[in-house]
Symmetry: C2
Subunit: 447 residues, 2 copies
Amino acid sequence: MTGKDTGVEIPAAWYSILADLPDYDPLERRPPSDLGPPADGPVRLSPQLPLTMYRQSVSRERHVPIPDEVRAHYERWRPTPLRRAREFEKYLDTPARIYYKHEGVSPSGSHKLNSALAQAYYYKKAGIQELATGTGAGQWGTALAMACRAFGLGCTVFMVRCSYDQKPQRRAIMEMFGARVVPSPSPLTRSGRAVLADDPDSPGSLSIAGSEGIQYAWEGTGRRYASGSAENHVLLHQTVIGQEAIAQMRRLGEFPDVVVAAIGAGSNFAGLAFPFYRESLDERRDTELVAVEPKACPKLTRGRYGWDHHDASGSMPMSKMYSLGHEFVPPVIHAGGLRYHGAAPVVSWMYHQKLMSAVAYGQREVFEAGLAFARTEHIVPAPESAHAIRCVVDRAAQARRTGRETVILFNLSGHGLLDLGAYQQYLDGSLPEDADFDDLVPAGGER
Amino acid sequence: MTGKDTGVEIPAAWYSILADLPDYDPLERRPPSDLGPPADGPVRLSPQLPLTMYRQSVSRERHVPIPDEVRAHYERWRPTPLRRAREFEKYLDTPARIYYKHEGVSPSGSHKLNSALAQAYYYKKAGIQELATGTGAGQWGTALAMACRAFGLGCTVFMVRCSYDQKPQRRAIMEMFGARVVPSPSPLTRSGRAVLADDPDSPGSLSIAGSEGIQYAWEGTGRRYASGSAENHVLLHQTVIGQEAIAQMRRLGEFPDVVVAAIGAGSNFAGLAFPFYRESLDERRDTELVAVEPKACPKLTRGRYGWDHHDASGSMPMSKMYSLGHEFVPPVIHAGGLRYHGAAPVVSWMYHQKLMSAVAYGQREVFEAGLAFARTEHIVPAPESAHAIRCVVDRAAQARRTGRETVILFNLSGHGLLDLGAYQQYLDGSLPEDADFDDLVPAGGER
């Protein structure tokens, strides 16, 4: 059995990849533009995080214990199943063995709850009363709404307008859990007003919603901005995924040749891939780590590596990362969680060091793969997760050509039950063509 | 741990309650009106079921082995978790211990897949090429679409029009799995056309959709009508739920005082309650079995016990059952799965013999309970399941008044992730008042 009953344990600690990347400096940041022009060189900034979480984001300690209160919540659905996609393999007619880690079974429907609970716990302990955030497809917003409710915090979610319009059910579920949901750009904040003045019909973006969340948090007392990805501590919290997967694969006598995950800013990718980075070092295996991004927002394959802001208004510190520019507004695609202009600094660094690879796909080919997976494995994948599946399809075809029994593991980061409208569009043939990225960013990008 | 890791096994056999109800005659049927006027007395009819399944519907053998091919599918998500609702208990401030069986984790999102897979398997073996059916909220249609895909059968689903309009996502998911979805009443069938001639705006009902499914099946070759509830073999297939629950409760050293489940026609109720009927006989326990119905469609509490048709047009054989009349069109409520005029014959018989009880609730109080459960337990219940939860709230309050540590078990038959629009209406205050049943059925009913 490769499912829920593999008998592995929830890890006792999160895994910090910083311990294994001695040349990467997590303290290297530049101040936000609100604090004046960027300093001449890198400066060291302490963000407004609870001290424990700040330490998590910079510490080189390999194992960071998971607090009992957080672990007790994890026990409600973790360990998540690791399954072999046998019917999908048959459909793909491949000698590859395809496994997936099913994070869609979480109460919020995605991996995002792993970090939301940890953050709500630390902020609550630090005396904070309310968390604000930005959300794309709503997976992060839903997770934070649930986590805030679990730990007795208020929650305000700035939801990217195009997702707000596409997915009314997402708004409903966040409101069910007591969150206030505001379509972004909104007139509530300075940076929202600035975007609306420029373009009243702006579809929004994760970086705009992030700016709004930060500014809203700053303007009140007892409020903080909770980040759903990009930051080291968020990536850290997700490593329960990969650690469980290693134990589950081991029980099956398997080790992946390829580990695949979609990338928005990087929490889903890091959650699965980082522990395998360590493990492949230990096992002297040449495991490939692949991040999959949308062609509409190809920060790794088409972005530039350099200093940039995490949010549209430049209210957050600058990081060195792959980015399409913090003012880039990606075209509207259904995988709203991947519409982020940059990649997490540590993921960017690894990509720059060629410790991982990346590939980009268009929306239609992604939905085609997602539908094929749903029809064979009976799980509707979130559009974000369907990006990983699209890459798996290619790797499985490659295995067929070479006759190699490649072992592929991917992260099914969330279910797509609130994205059925998008699948209906694909079935109806009304899913729009992908925008041509070169038309959007004439300057292109370079690696 | 009271979750997925309780280490119990999927049962090897379904449990037939007919073995324990010697006075109930499963062969007692009257011919459909299409075959002429009802005979003077009960006649014995053999429906167009594959022989194995027909035997299942009438046999008094207590244990009916589950075929390996069906069990292999069950293994993908069964045993389903049995959980204690500790946070809900706290919220209700009750000494009662509340457990729930979580059937919402199935690939189709509800318990319905337990029977859909079994039926698709038997029909496929019998050489059938396509199954037709009627669905209310879409839970049965979704399950049948998945099961047909799994066993290589075509699938046509007549979906009650009000649900079709309320829940476009349900249509999408059925189409994803290759089913053809037709809003009912439709111009495709004789009985659909008759209803439309009478009322072009008819919201439809499960009994109309059932008539359409049957007539559609009759008019083609290699087609059969698959029933989602009411029939003995369907109830039988659902008994995996209760059998697992018994084993899971036993490992916790618990036995329920009250077993609660919503009732449409009875498959959800029977699935959980029937095995406990047997078990409480064995254990000499006075366990109460409670079926919960909507006030808008109160077949047990307000219906009449007598001969009636299962479908609106009278195309199916008549059964002796509690019914509001086969032509009754229930008012539109979100729990579309409960909008059925009658109760399964064997459930009706048990109710008539006072071997179980029943209670009815209004839509708003049901959503209030469903929302409270979602907020405390982080699972959005289907509106059907929220009926059971509403009853649990009352029993928990009773326990508080009496100070008794009542052990309550209910069936969380499905998740409500495709019903978020209904919860949004409740939150917005726009959920309609319940229709007054007495205005709908002036003749009332009697027990």
